[in-house]
């Protein structure tokens, strides 16, 4: 009897020791800050991809629904042939940046690692696979249950291990750097304490004095898709202060602008950077990352900053000032839904779960709406410049030839904002079907097929995509017609 008790206690101690040993894998420190190395936009080979036609694509959150919709758009971009620089190329080959969040980060990460192989491998590896069930199986393995008892090992760490092994074949950012080609693919998570976007690029990891090279894509995808509640945040060590990193000059200037309030967005970006490099009392030893959708469920905020600020790791505004960009295409792939509810059919007070779900999803949807409006306003601002100058010239000309004005104009760019979203499905029955798809990491095969097809169709129906194709003498074949 006493022997049995001793064995049980010994077993319990072993289990507790094992649990205590389980911890998140450490992110490697950066020995020396080097702006000419690492996963950065300006370190990638342009190859045949020209800056004149600059294409940014954003993939939203929404689990497998978002991944399949994004994949469908990628297939359509691959199949779209354009005439550019005296050669026929696929529009996908001209994509310069992909910014992704949550479910959209899975095809983005796979494309970063394996390029065109995604079209042969990703459907079976991810889209048609019951990822959610597979994750649950992992969760209930006795060994994993013990590891999950550790305070520094969570369900997302387990998910990251699964993605690393089963989806991304052990790929790390070192492999992405080895490919060294555009598009620059940015997986976005959310810095839980600051509520700001945290991007998996070396410019971001410089602040932590950490080397992105050694980080698996699976871990980036897991952080980007750490759906709050179901999945835990992921922890990263902050090695700030150990790599001789210096903030760029704009950070101190923008922080000083705090009191004058002349550009709170820029100031907030500077303060976020400073919070990560703080070596004083406010030092943040660990950074906890949750789903990218918490900060921006469209993956569009970073591109918007790149379009409107010269203080950005891949500032498009700088490129416009240097007259490098002539046509600017921004494709937003938005898998947002709007599930039907019976709430307003009854006088009953909505329950706790219903209320909490609304509290979590309504601000997210509203913020996404405002982000899209911000993109529209940005395009309008740029387009109005030329109209304003033209208007002044016309007005002056009415006063006589001697009044003709010669007003200098900043470099003008042709904008093509393109939106792929279920709300643009014309048929209400079909639209409702897509808008009621669940957010999950597994969907029926038929739903995946329909999502891939609708991504292609919505892209081809977008009025600005049609204008672009016309401008580029391009063609997107449909089921009936080849190019």
């Amino acid at each position: 009897m006493a022997m049995q008790s001793t064995r049980r206690i010994a077993l319990l101690i072993c289990v507790l020791l094992l649990a205590a040993c389980a911890s998140f894998p450490p992110n490697p420190p950066l020995a020396q800050y080097n702006p000419a190395a690492g996963y950065r936009f300006d370190q990638l080979e342009r190859g045949a991809n020209s800056d004149e036609l600059f294409i940014i694509v954003s993939f939203s959150g929404g689990g497998t629904r978002a991944a399949a919709l994004s994949f469908g758009v990628m297939e359509a971009l691959r199949d779209t042939q354009i005439e550019w620089k005296q050669r026929k190329v696929s529009l996908l080959e001209e994509v310069d940046v992909i910014s992704s969040v949550s479910g959209g980060s899975f095809p983005a990460a796979y494309y970063a690692l394996y390029g065109a192989r995604i079209f042969d491998e990703f459907p079976e590896k991810f889209l048609y696979r019951p990822i959610q069930s597979d994750l649950l199986k992992q969760l209930f393995l006795p060994y994993n249950l013990v590891r999950l008892a550790s305070p520094s090992f969570g369900r997302s760490d387990l998910a990251a291990e699964f993605y690393h092994r089963e989806i991304f074949n052990g790929g790390t950012y070192a492999d992405v750097i080895k490919r060294g080609q555009r598009p620059f693919i940015i997986l976005n998570a959310t810095d839980m304490s600051r509520g700001t976007q945290f991007s998996f690029i070396q410019d971001q990891f410089d602040l932590l004095c950490s080397d992105l090279n050694g980080i698996p894509l699976a871990r980036a995808a897991a952080a980007s898709s750490a759906y709050p509640g179901g999945l835990t945040p992921l922890t990263f060590q902050n090695h700030a202060g150990s790599c001789q990193y210096q903030q760029p000059p704009w950070v101190a200037l923008a922080a000083k602008d705090h009191s004058s309030r002349i550009n709170p967005r820029r100031t907030a970006r500077a303060e976020e950077r400073l919070s990560l490099t703080d070596e004083g009392a406010g030092r943040r030893d660990y950074i906890h990352l949750t789903d990218g959708g918490v900060a921006d469920n469209l993956g569009l905020r970073a591109p918007l900053t790149a379009l409107t600020s010269t203080n950005h790791p891949w500032s498009v505004l700088q490129m416009m000032n240097q007259k490098k960009v002539h046509k600017l295409v921004i494709i937003t792939v938005n898998a947002a839904t709007d599930p039907a509810t019976q709430r307003d059919k009854t006088p009953n007070i909505p329950g706790l779960v219903d209320t909490l779900t609304a509290a979590a999803t309504v601000p997210l949807a509203n913020y996404s709406f405002d982000t899209l409006e911000l993109l529209t306003a940005t395009v309008r601002t740029f387009n109005q410049e030329a109209r304003l100058i033209e208007g002044c010239k016309k007005l002056a000309a009415t006063k006589g030839e001697q009044c003709t004005l010669d007003i200098p104009t900043p470099h003008q760019v042709q904008w093509f904002p393109i939106q792929v979203a279920f709300e643009y499905i014309a048929d209400s029955e079909e639209r409702n079907w897509f808008k009621n798809l669940p957010t999950s990491l597994e969907l029926p095969h038929s739903a995946i097929d329909r999502l891939r097809a609708i991504g292609r169709r919505l892209l081809s129906e977008d009025p600005n995509f049609r204008k672009l194709i016309q401008a580029l003498q391009g063609c997107l074949p449909d089921a009936q017609q080849a190019c």
């Binding site: 002349i262 409107t308 010269t310 601002t381 410049e385 304003l388 002044c392 900043p410």
Partner: protein, 75 residues
């Protein structure tokens, strides 16, 4: 969105650096976000002043802020 317009003037065509980053050329209208920025020119260092820290705000495309650099007088 807070977009501003500046013209950095210099007798010859030079690269303009805004906050240490290559951002276009002299004597052209450049776009920049609202706020305080550091303006310098590309080589050679025969210009004055060596740098200018300027708060850019309330400009329009018709009235860009003019930031003047001159050739340094060698004495």
């Amino acid at each position: 969105m807070a977009l501003e317009y500046v013209t950095v003037t210099f007798p010859t065509r030079r690269l303009v650096y805004i906050d240490g980053e290559r951002s276009g050329y002299t004597n052209e209208i450049l776009r920049v976000d609202t706020g305080t920025h550091l303006f310098t020119l590309g080589r050679y260092a025969n210009y004055a002043p060596a740098s200018q820290t300027i708060t850019v705000t309330e400009t329009t495309v018709l009235e860009p802020l003019e930031i003047v650099f001159t050739k340094k007088v060698v004495t």
